[in-house]
Structures are given as C-alpha cells and as structure tokens.
Symmetry: C2
C-alpha cells in the first residue's frame, strides 16, 4: 500500500477551499476583463533558456529537469517572461498595444514556510507596447479596482519610480526594499555590511525618504484622481521592488488593516521582450499574490459564507420514489439551482440528512410517499 | 538572443482561443455544480509512486524526474488517481459519498500528433463511495447534460458493462476496444496475432455483439428514461474501454455529427482507493476530452462569435480629453461592460480605431472636443 502524501510545499485544495479560490478567481478575472485585458495561456513547461538569465539571482529556484527527448526544460517560473516569448513568437498575431491577463500556476523550489509554497497561483495583468504613462495609470487603477471588487475597504497603492534611484547601485536598492521588514537600523547596518560607511548609508536612506515625485509620477497621480481613486494611492519614496528588471513606475498594493505585507507587486519593465526579439517592446503590469490575498480576505472576513457549490440536496425516501426525486432534481437544475440528488436510494434517510448537513447545503428536500401522492414536498433549511 | 519557441506537444493559447476555452470551461463547471459536484484541486507534482502501478501499461508516458531534494516525482498524469490519494489522506474531511469535479491540466509524454498533445486539460467528475448504480446513472446523466449545455444537438452515451466481458482476457478486451478504429477484420486479425484461432476470434466478436444488457444496465437505462434522456443513450455491447482499472459500467459520449471518435470516456472503478488505504471505496465517473470537445464544437459551429473579452473600446481623442475618456470608461465598467480604454493618448485616432477593429470589439466610442463640450459621444459598431 502506498502512503497517501503530498510533496513538501504542494497543496491539495479540498472543496471548501477550492470554492473560496474559485470565488476570488472569478472576481479577478472579471475585473481584468472589465479593463479590456484579454486572457492568455502559456505551457507549464518551457525550454530552460526561456527563463534562465531573465530572473536574476533566483535561478536556483527553478524546477528544472531533462525531458525524455534530452531537452533541458523548466516549469513555469513566472508569467511575464513567457508572455514576452509569445510576443516575439507571433509577431503577426499579437498586435501592440497588447493587454493580456494570465491566471495560471507557477512553481518555485523555495524553502516552504507559512504562506510560501512551491506551487502557487499567479494572476497577472500587463500592458505591452506603450511607453506613455497612461498605461501605468491604467494598470495601477486596475490593481486597485481588483481589491475593491474583492471587498477590501481601502486598498492603497504605494507608488514610486525607479528613476528616483538613478545612480544608486542595484545591491543597495535590494537593501532599501527591505525597509518595511527590517526597519531603518536594519537597512543602515545591512548597507554598511555591503561597503557603505555609516554616514553614507544614513544619508542614502534619508535622501531616499525625502525624494519628491517626478513629473511621470505626478501624471499618474492625476490620472488616478480623475478615476476617483484619490484615497487609494500614496507616494512612497522608499519603495524599491527588488526585481532587477524593474524600470520606471513601481508600486505595491497594501491594505492598512492587513499587517502581513503587500498583496500585489507591480512594475514597469522595458527590456524583457528584447531577450527574444529585435523589437523593443515595453511592459507594465502586476501579479496578484493570490495566496496572500486569500489569507487577507479570510482575516478581514471578505468571503461570503461558502462551504459548498451546492444549493440544495434532494434526498431519496426509498427506491420506488427515486423517479420522483429525479424529477424534482431535474426541475431545480433547469431552474438554475445547483442540485445534489443523493446518489444511493438504499441508504437510510437520516444518513442522507447527515450528508446534506455535513456538506453545508443551505436547503434540503424530502418527499415521502404521502407527499408524493399529493405531489408536494418538504423544504428544510 | 533566445529563439522564442514552445516545446513539442505544448501550446500557447492566444486570446481568441483562450476565450473559447474559458467559455467551454465555464459551462462545464456550472453543469458539474448543477449536479451537486464540488471542486477539488490537487498538485501538479506528486511522488512518482502515487501514479506508478495505477495506470497499467502507460508508465513510459509519465513526465517524471528527480527533484532538488532527490525525490522521484511525476507531473499529474490523470486526476482520478490523485483524488483516490486525497480520499485516503483526509479520512476526517472527506465524507462519503464524495462527489467531486476537477478541471486541471495533465501531462503525458505521448508522441504529439493532430489533436494529441503532451499538456492538456481534463474535466473530471466522479462519485466515490456508492456501489448502487444510481451513482452510475447520475454520472451518465451529467455527462450527457454537459454536452447538451455546450450546444450539442444530440449527444449519445454508448453504454456497456465490463461484467459482460467476464472470462475474456484483458488483452482481448483491449483489442475489441479498437473495433471503431480498425473494424471487424482488424479486430479478428489482431486477436489471431495474440494467439486466438480465427474461429475463436470470430466467435468472441460475434458473441460480444449479441450480448444483451444485464440487470444493472437496465436499471441505469430506466433512470435515464425518467430524466427524459431516452434519445441520449444506446446499449453498445462492443464498447470495452481499455483502462485496466475499469469495472462495471463503462460508457463514452459521441455525437453522430462528429465523426472523429468519442468526446468523453467514463467508467466505474472499484479498487483504486485501496492503493492508498484499507478503506474499500468504489468510484464512478468520467473525464471530458477537452481538446476533442473544442474541436467538435468548432466543427459543429457551437461557439458564439467570440474573439475578445472586450465589449467596447474607448478611444482618446487627445491628451487633454483623457479625463473625459476615463470618466466614460469608469461609467461603462461600473455598468458591467468590459471596457478597454486606449492606453496611449498620444497615438493618432486612426491607429486607435484600427486597434479596436483588430481586437474585434463590437463597440467603439469616440468623443472629440465639440462632443465633449456638449457632453455627448459617438458610438460606433
């Protein structure tokens, strides 16, 4: 006999959880489409070279192997890089500007810990082929709208521009990005370990904190204002986003009522497509951190009471009344109600009732012989 | 520069195709739920031993490798075996009967050919823990209803019972299963190659063709009749289903107007859970062949005219009118219309119009300065 077990960092989603996930995915998908973004799907497996060199220091996190044909392949590590490949691969089909969303699983061989898994869902939206900051404003607005539609009271986009870090080495940007986690003392001491003097480190941090928005950011802010999102963004000069490919606008979505960090990471990236093509195609967009978003929704009680996809369980009083139960189920299904007909007429009614209760179905129907004769039924809640 | 390419047998779905797939998935998901089935998700990677030994002769088709921790792992080969693992792994959470559906990707290292890929979607529904044939009738009815809801005029379930093959060796069952593809002569000659005399082979085939439904099948047929599905099934004594784990009821869905074979494979399987547990838990259900179903829907013109998720493109006449365009887009989105605001106000109007036409959006909105002054707009179709 084989021990039933899942691999470390991988999860089963039993119905109650799968239903919650589906509820959130449906809202996210609809919001993407409400902003004119189109769905795209790319394969779970790609040639390793598609990813390698694009992600920076994270390549040890690839799930990679040699396939039966001796090809070096990797599981989808992110969705932005494959989309850049798609744009280069189908120049006739993909017209610019290209607004696409993608809701698929990605795999990273991280050390599993609370809230961090080796297999997780990403919900991405990006605009490709627009340098004008209107595209940034549209994607910021979309990222805010997603959290509004999920029920968050006041999602806030913390916005910055990588251009404000001109002249700052990438290694220092990575340290400043940790400010929220390790605090100012932590940043200064980590910078000094990287070769800064204490004075220089303190000056870099204080200069960063005192930066003012540039013209590009002001443009984005005024667009957000005309969307009526005045309360949903904030200039945050210490926000750095640690991806090496980030350029221009960077932002994250937080909720003041959720303390465990940002829900969504977002940036402009203007050179990724050129890995695959001579075309220079800029991009701007974000990835919803789906697991963290679900955790926040649970903490903030944003899910409706969902434990089952079923609205009503039709019980079967006995085998000879099964055709009646089937007719009732047919009618309810035709009326659009998710209807579970108990699948075994030989099982006693009390066990069937227990099944309906366990399942959490809001309604249950019982029709005994007397009721069947009168063509009526009992509806229990 | 990296050549942008996909691996053999793997596909990108650009928006027009992704939208079609999503259209079909939504109908299938709703139909599953309308019959009281609950969603389940399992990981893409499992311990290799979860799959090995369960599938029979197909193990060379596994995508398997050693992960960074030295574990032998395999990509999800099917969804029935992982569900059996789940039932064994969470005895407290999974109450029987358990009706679950699963819509996830599976991977098989097959030789790619027309309509056969190495990565493809499966849509499964199964009832676990019910030996009574009412469960079989429910899943047959569900499989028919899916194709009705997808728009097929007259989907037909070809139904048989593996019990009618009692005494016939599995190797011969596999041959008879090919009858539709290789014809009677093909079956007879392949059976002789497997050691049958020509007379015995002919007798086996003719006996098989002349079988009559057993009591269990009659029960299922009468359930289907009371669902009003009299025209949607047929007893088919030569149907064999080549899976070694099939027991009891077996069926496939075909459409008489679609010549390229069955759309959905279905069976009872009464011993799979026992691989993982001492509990004996029977199962019955099916997997929608999603790719073939999509091909059939295209052939039979069952898709509505879908090329974009976007209902309307709002153009931006010039940069100073962008706030007006944003207000129009906001209102339309709030009214539930998928609204694409052109993301670059510096681009000339004719190029924006071309974008909307290319995208296939049914409506386009233009508001110039005169119209903005009067607070009206032009709606173009």
């Amino acid at each position: 006999m084989i021990t039933p077990q899942t691999l470390k960092g991988f999860r089963d989603f039993l119905p109650a959880d799968a239903i919650k996930r589906q509820y959130a995915i449906t809202i996210i998908r609809k919001t993407f489409e409400s902003f004119g973004f189109e769905p795209l799907e790319t394969p779970a497996l790609e040639y390793l070279e598609t990813f390698s060199g694009a992600i920076g220091e994270d390549e040890k996190l690839f799930f990679k192997f040699e396939d039966q044909g001796g090809r070096n392949v990797a599981l989808r590590y992110d969705q932005t890089v494959p989309t850049c490949r798609v744009i280069a691969q189908y120049p006739e089909d993909i017209k610019l500007p290209f607004k696409r969303y993608q809701i698929q699983t990605v795999w990273r061989s991280e050390k599993p810990q609370k809230g961090r898994y080796r297999e997780f869902l990403q919900c991405d939206a990006d605009i490709f082929g627009v340098e004008n900051r209107t595209a940034d404003a549209e994607t910021v607005a979309l990222s805010i709208q997603i959290y509004k539609n999920l029920g968050f009271k006041r999602p806030i986009a913390l916005i910055n521009d990588r251009a404000l870090y001109t002249g700052v080495p990438y290694a220092a940007i990575v340290v400043i990005d940790k400010l929220g986690k390790i605090g100012e003392d932590g940043v200064v001491s980590e910078l000094t370990r990287k070769g800064y003097t204490k004075d220089d480190a303190e000056k870099l941090l204080s200069d960063t904190k005192n930066k003012k928005p540039n013209k590009e950011l002001e443009t984005i802010f005024s667009y957000l204002d005309s969307y009526g999102m005045n309360d949903n963004y904030r200039f945050e000069p210490t926000l750095a986003r640690s991806f090496s490919y980030s350029t221009g606008t960077i932002w994250e979505i937080i909720d003041p009522n959720f303390a465990s960090g940002s829900l969504c990471g977002c940036e402009r990236f203007d050179s990724l497509v050129s890995r695959f093509s001579n075309r220079s195609v800029s991009g701007v967009g974000f990835a919803v951190g789906f697991d963290r978003t679900i955790i926040a929704m649970e903490e903030l009680n944003l899910f409706p009471p969902l434990t089952t996809a079923t609205a009503v369980v039709v019980t079967v009083f006995n085998e000879s009344l099964l055709p009646n139960a089937q007719k009732i189920a047919s009618k309810l299904r035709a009326a659009g109600l998710a209807t579970d007909l108990y699948p075994d007429p030989t099982v006693k009614l009390d066990k069937q009732i227990k099944y309906a209760v366990n399942k959490g179905a809001p309604y249950m129907i019982i029709q005994g012989p007397d009721e069947a004769a009168k063509d009526v039924l009992q509806l229990k809640t």
